[in-house]
């Protein structure tokens, strides 16, 4: 349980402004970040995680200013960013690196509680039986679930996910999102998740933040997330679907496909 407060966050890459004066506060919720590619979703998440240094503005977690990467904030990446050559268990265990010294972690001398925590996390994402398997031998959906497990092992109070299901097929995407939501609920962590798929977002989110060209466009609850709002966010793309449809592609992806054809 935690409160994330973002105040006047701005990030510039040279002449390009990726984030402009973004402020919001989230509190024990499952929050979905929507917006086109390049709208600043990744930049925002990376700033909160400390992987990117903001140009100006402040980030507070439970009232304390944070900077740099830390175990309090778990991060789930689009390309999962796991170490592929080692097992799911060892990858989950890397979530505890900040608690252990380099030598201890190298020789796997973590205490029993930590090791159990890693296996518990894998159980949460339904991979206990596969814990010994090498990550490179797993499917994309399984790999992403290991990524969630690693985040959980950090014992975070806040979990960030940067398009966690963008490279997955519709059914894996749904199951990974299901596990992510379950993990957030079971471990009682606040979640900030960026998504491309509006229908998945509508299904899982408690609250929705819309980013466009680095600025916060809307901050709404499930009832207020109207098709008009979404249309406005993505510009006039006709295929953006809010209702349940047979496609999980966003209008943007559709458009790209069409251009390629």
């Amino acid at each position: 349980m935690s409160t994330l407060t973002i105040e006047n966050l701005t990030k510039e890459y040279g002449d390009v402004t990726a984030l402009e004066d973004v402020s919001f506060e989230i509190d024990d919720e499952f929050v979905v970040l929507l917006g086109e590619s390049g709208a600043g979703k990744s930049t925002l998440l990376r700033c909160v995680n400390g992987l990117t240094e903001p140009t100006s503005g402040d980030i507070y977690l439970d009232g304390e200013a944070i900077s740099g990467s830390q175990p309090e904030v778990g991060m789930i990446f689009q390309q999962h960013n796991l170490v592929e050559g080692i097992s799911a268990y060892l990858n989950a265990l890397t979530g505890s690196l900040a608690d252990t010294s380099t030598a201890e972690s190298l020789f796997q001398r973590q205490d029993r509680e930590t090791k159990t925590r890693a296996l518990d996390a894998l159980e949460t994402v339904g991979l206990l039986d596969e814990a010994h398997q090498r990550v490179s031998e797993m499917s994309g959906g399984q790999q992403q679930r290991v990524g969630i497990a690693r985040g959980l092992v950090q014992n975070p109070s806040l979990v960030l996910a940067d398009e966690p299901v963008a490279s997955l097929d519709p059914s894996s995407a749904e199951s990974v999102m299901g596990y992510l939501k379950k993990a957030a609920t079971v471990h009682e962590v606040t979640a900030l998740v960026s998504l491309h798929q509006v229908n998945i977002a509508a299904h899982f989110g408690d609250r929705f933040l819309g980013l466009r060209e680095g600025r916060l466009m809307f901050d709404v609850g499930p009832d207020e997330l109207t098709p008009a709002l979404v249309d406005d966010l993505y510009g006039s793309v006709e295929t953006v679907a809010l209702a349940a449809t047979d496609t999980d592609q966003t209008g943007e992806e559709k458009q790209r496909l069409e251009v390629e054809v």
């Binding site: 400390g50 830390q70 991060m75 990446f77 960013n81 690196l97 972690s105 990524g147 950090q154």
Partner: protein, 332 residues
């Protein structure tokens, strides 16, 4: 255009130096022809230069076909000593393999082989920590740009000096023998294996590094878990390759007196015992070939997703002598 082009005009046309054509296409065609002519001139010049250099090289080394011809009978004689003929079952002519075998036992060549392998193993093991240290520190991702070059430079200097020369340098330290050879292999390993490690580290993906960083890990944990864990299997594979290389180096180090199989080979050469010399060479091929086979198989097993490399048994043994020469010259 004139009605009957003269041969000179035709040649100019062919070479691309005729008067400019009318259309853009004509001009381009002429341009292409001229480029071709110029390219051919350069190639011709290159051939002439190469012939001149080759001539100079042959004169410098006193290359002489007449000499070869004059020496042929002597070489033929030596051949019968290299491969002593005998007849089996009274009729079947073949090389007298037993002569080799007897000499191998008499001169304890198998013990000498063990010395050679021991030099390689000890040298590789002792050189590994240095190789790891220099290899990792030379990577730009671990040590920032200008400083990593210090480590790169050290390894370059080590590699610039062949292992054969390292033995000569180290003789005052350890005398002429297997001990000095081991030290030389150790230094050689630091330079070579370290460089291979550095190259391997250049290939790693950013994702896992960021993933580990995001957990709040410290710098040395990011290096070990985010970076080294990505290349762990490749490192083991390179280690196997370097052990193979070092066996070949150890053989060649023996030739200048550093013990083992190479030493025995050189002793027999100096005393013109060609049959005994060939016995040594056969063992050299068997030794280098076996180590290579083992190392190749281990490496193909370790390389995830790679097609399993299957060097044929015969191929491994046939190419062994060539590789020994390459290894001793500091080439791979």
């Amino acid at each position: 255009m004139s009605s009957e082009p003269s041969p000179v005009d035709e040649l100019r046309e062919y070479l691309g130096f005729a008067a400019a054509g009318d259309s853009a296409v004509d001009r381009k065609l002429k341009d292409i022809k001229r480029r071709k002519t110029i390219r051919r001139l350069w190639v011709g010049l290159g051939v002439v230069a190469f012939v001149a250099v080759l001539r100079w090289s042959l004169t410098t080394v006193d290359f002489s076909l007449a000499e070869l011809y004059a020496q042929l009978p002597e070489f033929a004689e030596a051949l019968t000593e290299y491969f002593p003929p005998t007849t089996y079952f009274g009729v079947l002519p073949f090389v007298d393999v037993m002569q080799y075998w007897e000499f191998m036992l008499e001169a304890e060549l198998f013990a000498a082989s063990q010395v050679t392998v021991a030099i390689a193993i000890a040298g590789t093991a002792l050189g590994l920590p240095g190789a790891l240290f220099f290899g990792v520190m030379a990577s730009e991702r671990v040590v920032p740009y200008p400083f990593n070059f210090l480590f790169r430079l050290t390894m370059s200097v080590i590699r610039a000096i062949p292992a054969l020369v390292w033995v000569l340098i180290l003789i005052p330290l350890g005398g002429v023998g297997p001990f000095t050879a081991t030290l030389a292999v150790m230094i050689d390993t630091t330079g070579y294996l370290g460089r291979l490690f550095t190259d391997e580290l250049e290939e790693i993906a950013d994702g896992p590094i960021e993933g580990i960083r995001s957990t709040g890990a410290n710098k040395s944990q990011i290096v070990s878990f985010g970076m080294l864990s990505q290349v762990f299997r490749q490192f083991i594979a390179w280690l196997a390759f370097d052990l193979e290389h070092n066996v070949r180096v150890a053989i060649s180090l023996g030739l200048i007196g550093a013990g083992g199989l190479g030493l025995e080979l050189n002793v027999q050469r100096r005393t013109f015992n060609y049959t005994e010399m060939m016995a040594c060479i056969i063992l050299v091929i068997l030794l280098a070939g076996s180590v290579e086979l083992l190392s190749q198989r281990l490496r193909s097993y370790l390389r995830d997703g790679d097609e399993v490399e299957r060097t044929g048994i015969i191929e491994a043994f046939v190419t062994a002598p060539k590789k020994i020469v390459q290894s001793s010259m500091g080439k791979r």
